[in-house]
Symmetry: C2
Subunit: 171 residues, 2 copies
């Protein structure tokens, strides 16, 4: 699902590149709040979070100095949304041909790391928290070691699960 083998500079048949590379835009700027420590590198990174969990290997988020206080109020066992920056991604692909799809597909219909803004989203479980040290242990994550973190948020079923379309508006 996370198409880890798609960190590539090669353009495959049916793929399309944007005229203007989003990497040159400067509409807003990101502060990396920390990094994710995992056992994974490009060679052995699990293809999705399910596989990362099955490996039995946990992960750890280490925040930069001063950010640890921001963890106050989170609790072990709670689900957490992690937004992180896939810093090896290609940002100018708008149609992509991953190996697992038959036809090329739009970037916004894929979870590929290659996208105009390579912000990945994962829902993990908090195993333990040390707010003083700015460290949070999580159940697993399918990203490379030292991937930069953009944001952490509490996950809430009521707002983070999709509603059903009212029947009158169904396709």
């Amino acid at each position: 699902m996370s198409d880890r083998d798609d960190y590539t500079s090669e353009i495959r048949p049916g793929e399309r590149v944007l005229d203007r590379n989003p990497a040159s835009a400067d509409d807003a700027r990101i502060c990396f709040i920390g990094e994710i420590r995992t056992p994974w590198g490009p060679q052995d990174c699990p293809r999705n979070i399910g596989s990362a969990r099955q490996s039995g290997q946990g992960a750890r988020i280490e925040l930069i100095e001063g950010m640890g206080e921001g963890l106050e109020g989170l609790a072990p066992g709670q689900p957490l949304v992690v937004l992180y920056w896939m810093d090896r991604a290609r940002r100018d692909l708008i149609l992509q041909a991953p190996r697992h799809t038959e036809a090329p597909r739009g970037t916004f219909a894929l979870r590929s790391p290659n996208r105009p803004n390579p912000v990945a989203m994962s829902v993990v479980l908090i195993v333990s928290i040390d707010a003083r040290a700015g460290v949070i242990e999580i159940d697993a994550l399918d990203c490379f070691d030292r991937t930069p973190v953009v944001d952490l948020k509490p996950w809430h079923a009521s707002i983070d699960s999709p509603a059903e379309l009212p029947s009158g508006r169904n396709p």
Copy 2:
């Protein structure tokens, strides 16, 4: 939940400000891929996506030129993750005292728009898609009209719902 009344410059008792404002960082740069059209302004914006849905008012995402192809492969009725940039947020608050919590709480334990990187995440439903025009109608969204969009992703229950902690590692 989204604490819309917390777009404020006032510091409340118990709140804490970072020594270095993340707004001055430049670790990565964002390209706004489009904007969200809603009926809402600062005066009447619903407090969460549930209230936005109950209003019966839909919303629309308008992508910038060239990005529409990225919608190919998405379908009406499908849940979509929308990442957007809360451009009026304060970025230097690390402990916050929203009106709905008793004690101050860490920014990463809140869904407040005020955070080091003000990237909001919502799960919406696709009502209709016009890839050629780069327009996607969605069921609802609780953000101000013309909020900038950072990313769109298909939502998958298997990866975007939390797993359960293995019993041996429960707190």
